[in-house]
Structures are given as structure tokens and as C-alpha cells.
């Protein structure tokens, strides 16, 4: 039986999504606009036999999340810009040591303390390249309360499947927004369990994991004598440090990248609306996609062929979808609450095949449909506009 529809806040939906995904450990530090996630989970975790802990800072929070995940618990933390910055070193550790975990970043205006209560999409590049060194990462960006729930579940599933940190880039608007939703029941969800390798401990070796068959990470204290390190390690020698062997370092670095990029098609999710006959596309993500959708509908009412492409996965970059887009439309409008962070990537992927129009703001205000409508008008200068509204 489906759950009744009720008013749910985006941050609350993230928390419920985590519980539904089987998360049983949360560590965090209060920060606007993500705090509700911690508040809800401090109540919910004991109810499901899980553990909530408020750590001394965000550095400790992500470290505790990594520890709990290593001990076998699906784990998450939630934060915003300044805390996300503090977490970067250990996000790199989780990428290097292949620790499944989920980081919710409810974006606010920055840099620094910035605009604590206003939305932003300024962490797009930090999510991709915030930690030092070559690594791969997965990042989702919800644009509705329902997606706060479903993408948190998906984040846990992919974290387990690819043994990687997964980032959910929410923002102050999506996180604090309330919508009437019927949250899915457990039988409506696919949940990836935390398993054990199907190889006896004496035969198990990390190198058995291949890009096509990534074995689950054995838990600390299980029958597998686990060694976890942030040093470059030799997957073929029980994860022993191998900092003096360039070939091993090269192999590990490429493996860490390929285990995600090889599965790019399965990971990347893009929603397309009105793209069948579109001449101009709006490419928008997160809360801005809501304004973009309104602008697109307005344009269709005006009789011009505008479509919406909404990346749900920001990283890995949805190359295939953007490639296809570049062949189809003459203009791609990229509105975002930052200054060209994602549109540069779009431009790189488009490689001159279509015009890329960027539109950004960093004043903490949402991009309104009218702003995007004005951009659309410029692209259909031959059209007779008869606005009524």
C-alpha cells in the first residue's frame, strides 16, 4: 500500500531516503541549510537501530562516516559549503581507499561563510575536483522533494556498487522547499545490500575486483584481514603500500577512474522534456531546472520549439546526452546559480557544434523563469511575441 501524500521538506526527504536505503550511521555538524537532515536523523536512527552522532567538526564527521562504513554500516553525512570544503581531504581518502559513503551537500552562497540561508550551485566544481589528485566521483542533483528521497536512495546504491563516495548536491531552495509527496514504500525500492565478497577470506584479494565486477568491501572485524590505506597501494598484495612502484600507482589511478567511467552510461541520468522537435534547448539542473521548465512551457505556448534537458547526474558528466544535444539543436541555454561552472563543461562537450548561452547569478537569488524567457526570445528573433501574461 502506498504511503499517504503529505507535505515533506526536501531535507526531511533526504533523511527518509537514507533510512529507506539502509543507512544506519550518520555523523554531522550543524550548518545551515542542511541542519534539518541531522535533526531528523537524530530522531530516526535510534528507531531503526542505527547510530547518530554529532561530531566536533565536519572533518571529524566525514572521518567517522568512513570508519562506520568500513565497519559495515551504510553511512552518510550532510553539510553545506564551508563544511563541504572541510571534508574534501577525506572525500579523497574515501575515493582512494574505495569506501562507500554518501555526502549530502545542501549548497548555499559562497565562497567562505557567504550567504548561509540563500541557495547557490557554486559547489558543482568542488564536488568534482574539490579533493586533490586524480579521482572519479559520482554526483546527483535533485530538483524536487521526491528526488531528494529517490536520489539519496540511488546514491547509496551506487556507493555500494562502485565502492565510492557519492555526493548529492541539493541546495537551499530544494532542501527547504515543501511539496506534497507520497514517499515510496520499501517494496517499491531497489536497495543494494552491503555484501561480503563471495570468496573465502584466505583466497580473497583486492585485485579480484575488476572494472566489470567490483566485489563488496569486507568489513573490519570480519574474517577477512582488512588493511585500508590512503597511500597508493598494490591491489594484488593485500593493499600493501606501493609508493615506490610507478606501474602500480599508474594501474591503481586508472582503475579508480575506469571503475566509474566505464559505467558512465548506467550512472548518468538525464531527463528530457519537449526535445523531440526542439531547435533550442535549456540545459538546467537542480532548483534552476524548475524555472527552466516553466520557461520552456511558456515558450511552447508562444509557439517556438524549445526543449529542456535536465541532468540528474552531474558527475560523471553526461557526455552522451550532451553530444546528442549538440547534433540536434542550434542553441543550448545553460542557466545556473554560479558563473559558468557547468556551462564550460557543456561548451567543451559541444565542441562548437551548437551555440552555448550561459546565464549565471551569484546573488543568492533563484533564477526566475522570466530571465530564461528573455534568453529564449533572443534565440527566436524572427518570432512575433504576443505575451499576455
Amino acid at each position: 500500500m502506498p504511503q499517504p501524500r503529505r507535505l515533506v521538506q526536501g531535507n526531511e526527504a533526504v533523511a527518509e531516503g537514507a533510512i529507506a536505503a539502509g543507512a544506519r550511521f550518520f555523523a554531522g555538524y550543524p550548518i545551515t541549510p542542511s541542519t534539518e537532515i541531522a535533526e531528523v536523523l537524530s530522531r530516526r536512527m535510534p528507531q531503526v537501530g542505527g547510530h547518530f552522532i554529532q561530531m566536533e567538526d565536519e572533518i571529524a564527521s566525514i572521518a567517522a562516516v568512513i570508519g562506520a562504513s568500513l565497519a559495515g554500516a551504510k553511512s552518510l553525512t550532510a553539510t553545506s559549503g564551508p563544511g563541504f570544503s572541510l571534508m574534501q581531504e577525506s572525500i579523497g581518502y574515501a575515493a582512494m581507499a574505495q569506501v562507500p559513503c554518501v555526502i549530502i551537500d545542501v549548497m548555499r552562497g559562497g565562497p567562505s561563510t557567504g550567504l548561509p540561508t540563500e541557495p547557490s550551485q557554486g559547489d558543482v566544481m568542488q564536488a568534482r575536483w574539490g579533493t586533490h589528485g586524480e579521482h572519479s566521483i559520482i554526483a546527483f542533483v535533485p530538483s524536487s522533494v521526491m528526488e531528494c528521497f529517490t536520489l539519496t536512495v540511488e546514491a547509496f546504491n551506487l556507493a555500494e556498487a562502485y565502492r565510492t563516495p557519492v555526493i548529492v548536491l541539493s541546495d537551499a531552495t530544494v532542501g527547504h522547499m515543501r511539496e506534497a509527496v507520497a514517499l515510496p514504500t520499501p517494496d517499491e525500492l531497489r536497495i543494494a545490500p552491503r555484501g561480503e565478497p563471495d570468496v573465502p577470506p584466505e583466497e580473497y584479494d583486492e585485485v579480484m575486483s575488476t572494472v566489470d565486477n567490483i566485489l563488496p568491501r569486507p568489513a573490519l572485524g570480519s574474517r577477512y584481514a582488512v588493511h585500508v590505506t590512503g597511500l597508493v597501494y598494490d591491489r594484488a598484495r593485500g593493499g600493501a603500500p606501493a609508493t615506490g612502484t610507478p606501474a602500480v600507482a599508474e594501474g591503481l589511478g586508472r582503475y579508480l577512474r575506469e571503475k566509474i567511467y566505464h559505467h558512465r552510461d548506467a550512472i548518468c541520468r538525464v531527463e528530457e522534456i519537449g526535445m523531440e522537435d526542439a531547435e533550442v534547448a535549456i540545459l538546467a539542473y537542480g532548483s534552476v531546472a524548475r524555472s527552466a521548465r516553466a520557461a520552456m512551457r511558456w515558450a511552447r505556448r508562444q509557439g517556438v520549439k524549445v526543449g529542456l534537458v535536465r541532468p540528474i547526474t552531474l558527475w560523471p558528466f553526461p557526455t552522451v546526452a550532451v553530444d546528442h544535444l549538440a547534433e540536434q539543436v542550434r542553441t543550448i541555454i545553460v542557466p545556473e546559480m554560479n558563473l559558468k561552472q557547468f556551462s564550460w563543461e557543456v561548451q567543451a562537450a559541444v565542441r562548437g557544434r551548437a551555440k552555448v548561452v550561459d546565464h549565471g547569478r551569484v546573488d543568492g537569488k533563484l533564477i526566475r523563469p522570466e530571465e530564461i524567457q528573455a534568453l529564449i526570445k533572443r534565440e527566436f528573433y524572427y518570432h512575433r511575441w504576443e505575451e499576455t501574461a
Binding site: 561530531m55 566536533e56 571529524a60 570508519g67 562506520a68 572485524g221 600493501a240
Partner: protein, 298 residues
């Protein structure tokens, strides 16, 4: 004094603590707990002695090696995770206690031992030390205090004694050294001990006492770094350095707390011992209560 921290705190005179008996184990058995007998520690370094004391302590307590997890940070001491054959985590610099907090919370049945260097523990990781102690979480923190950053080649640390030289205090250190045991005690650790590699069996006993203790246990091993500390401070001979450490250590019951401190003499033994509510046990009670209430309603 600590009554402010917790009303149920029961202070015990340190000499009342009965420490576990240590059975010295033969070298082949000790080696069987190592992934490799080779280490990157310099000749004359006493980290290996403390590592053996830890193995002796764990074996004497008859802990299940599989259920014993050693978590360490970055630095010479942190490399212990590479050598021990148990479940081991080599974390980022300074974060061992925070990672250990997550491990212990997720699996309270694990024996969690955290190994840190002095820089790891009280410089970059100092915040985690005071909060782990405040929570009284049941992990054992073992600090290899060599008073210097060895891995990076001999820079001063928060435990470098005033006046001593390092590659970043070439004219003599103007800062006062941390007394980490006092810090851990003040922050709420319920078992605090200090030992030296020279007093091997006693050190192993102090470590075992920390592991057996239910709550946050802090054990400081005063180790020597002849390569970087000794050579820069006129005592390059490893045995002379160890002997000097032993000479400076005073059994806690004979130690005059009002006398001169640290540089010339420091107390060794169990410096502090108390009983107070342990973090994971207290949280488990909350989980049981919340789930019980939910059951009552159903």
C-alpha cells in the same frame, strides 16, 4: 574536579588499578602477527619495541585478532597499520580517532586501538583527542611520542621540549611542550597512563590495562628518535637516548606534582583512572529505550 563532567564519575587512586599480567611471547609468535618483519623505522628507533608491547598486550588479554582493529594516522607511528596482521586502517593525518569513533559506534563489539604520533595526536588531530576523551568512547589511544616530526625529517612538534632544536626550531624551541596525559585527563579520559620502551613489561601492562578498561583509555609511550631528535640535540646514541628517557621517568606514586615538570622528569604508570558512563553503551540504552517505546505502542 571532574565531577563537573559527570556526576557518576568515580575517581580511583591510580595505584589501586590492578593491571593485567603480561606473558612475554616468543619472537616467532610475535612475528606471526606481522604482515612483514621489515619496517621503514630507522635503526635505533623505539617504535618497534612499543609495537611488540602492543602485540604482547593483545595476546596476553587473549583478544581475538580478527576482532581487533588498529587505526592509525600519518607519520612514523601510523605505519604500524602496514605491519600488523589484524584489521588495520591507515587514515588521513590526524583523523584516526574520528575514524575510530565511527568504527566503534557502528560495531561496538570490536576492540579498537588507535595509534598516533605526537603531531598526529595533539597538533593536527588535537580536536579529535579532546572530544573522544570527553565522550569516553571505549577505544584505546596509544601515542608514540618522539617529540618530533620524524617522517618529514625532524621538525618541531607540540611536544618538542622548550629550548630543544629541530629543523624548524634551529635556534631552540620557544614554545612550551604539551603534557598530553594532563590534556587527556582534563578532557575526560577515564584511563591515562605513560610508559617508556626501557620499562618494556610495564609498558605492555599499561597498554593492556588501557585495552581492558571500559571507556576512553589514553596511553603515552615516550619513544626516542635518535635520527632526528637525538642528532639535533646532542644525543645521537639510541641506547643513551632510551636510558635518558628512563632516567627522567618517575613512578607516579613517587612523583612530586609540584616539582619541575616534563623536560627533566615526568611521571610514569597509571596517572589517572575513573569509571564513568561509556559512550556506545549509553547510546545502546537510548536505542533500546526508543525501540521499546515503539514496541509498546504497536
Amino acid at each position: 574536579m571532574s565531577a563537573l563532567v559527570d556526576e557518576e564519575l568515580v575517581e580511583r587512586p591510580p595505584q589501586d588499578v590492578s593491571l593485567p599480567r603480561i606473558e612475554p611471547h616468543a619472537t616467532p609468535e610475535v612475528l606471526s602477527h606481522l604482515r612483514s618483519p621489515k619496517t621503514l623505522w630507522c635503526p635505533g628507533c623505539s617504535n618497534g619495541i612499543v609495537t611488540r608491547a602492543l602485540i604482547d598486550a593483545v595476546l596476553s588479554l587473549e583478544l581475538e585478532p580478527e576482532r581487533t582493529c588498529v587505526i592509525a594516522g600519518i607519520g612514523c607511528a601510523g605505519r604500524i597499520t602496514t605491519y600488523l596482521k589484524w584489521s588495520t586502517v591507515h587514515t588521513a593525518h590526524g583523523r584516526a580517532l574520528a575514524v575510530a569513533t565511527g568504527v566503534k559506534a557502528a560495531d561496538p563489539g570490536l576492540n579498537v586501538i588507535v595509534v598516533m604520533g605526537d603531531g598526529d595526536c595533539v597538533a593536527i588531530g588535537g580536536n579529535h583527542l579532546i572530544h573522544a576523551a570527553r565522550r569516553n568512547i571505549d577505544v584505546t589511544a596509544l601515542v608514540f611520542n618522539n617529540s618530533i616530526y620524524g617522517m618529514t625529517g625532524g621538525q618541531m612538534s607540540p611536544t618538542t621540549f622548550e629550548g630543544d632544536r629541530s629543523t624548524t626550531s634551529v635556534y631552540g624551541n620557544v614554545e612550551q611542550a604539551f603534557d598530553i596525559c594532563e590534556l587527556a585527563h582534563a578532557a575526560g579520559a577515564t584511563y591515562v597512563a605513560r610508559g617508556t620502551p626501557y620499562g618494556y613489561t610495564r609498558l605492555a601492562q599499561l597498554i593492556a590495562g588501557g585495552i581492558a578498561h571500559k571507556g576512553f583509555a589514553f596511553v603515552e609511550a615516550m619513544v626516542s628518535c635518535p635520527t632526528y631528535y637525538g642528532r639535533q640535540n646532542g644525543i645521537p646514541d639510541p641506547s643513551a637516548m632510551m636510558k635518558r628517557q628512563y632516567d627522567r621517568s618517575v613512578p607516579v606514586d613517587k612523583f612530586d606534582r609540584d616539582g619541575p615538570r616534563l623536560h627533566d622528569r615526568y611521571p610514569v604508570g597509571v596517572l589517572h583512572h575513573a569509571e564513568r558512563s561509556e559512550y556506545t553503551a549509553a547510546y545502546a540504552e537510548i536505542v533500546a529505550r526508543v525501540q521499546g517505546e515503539a514496541g509498546d505502542r504497536a
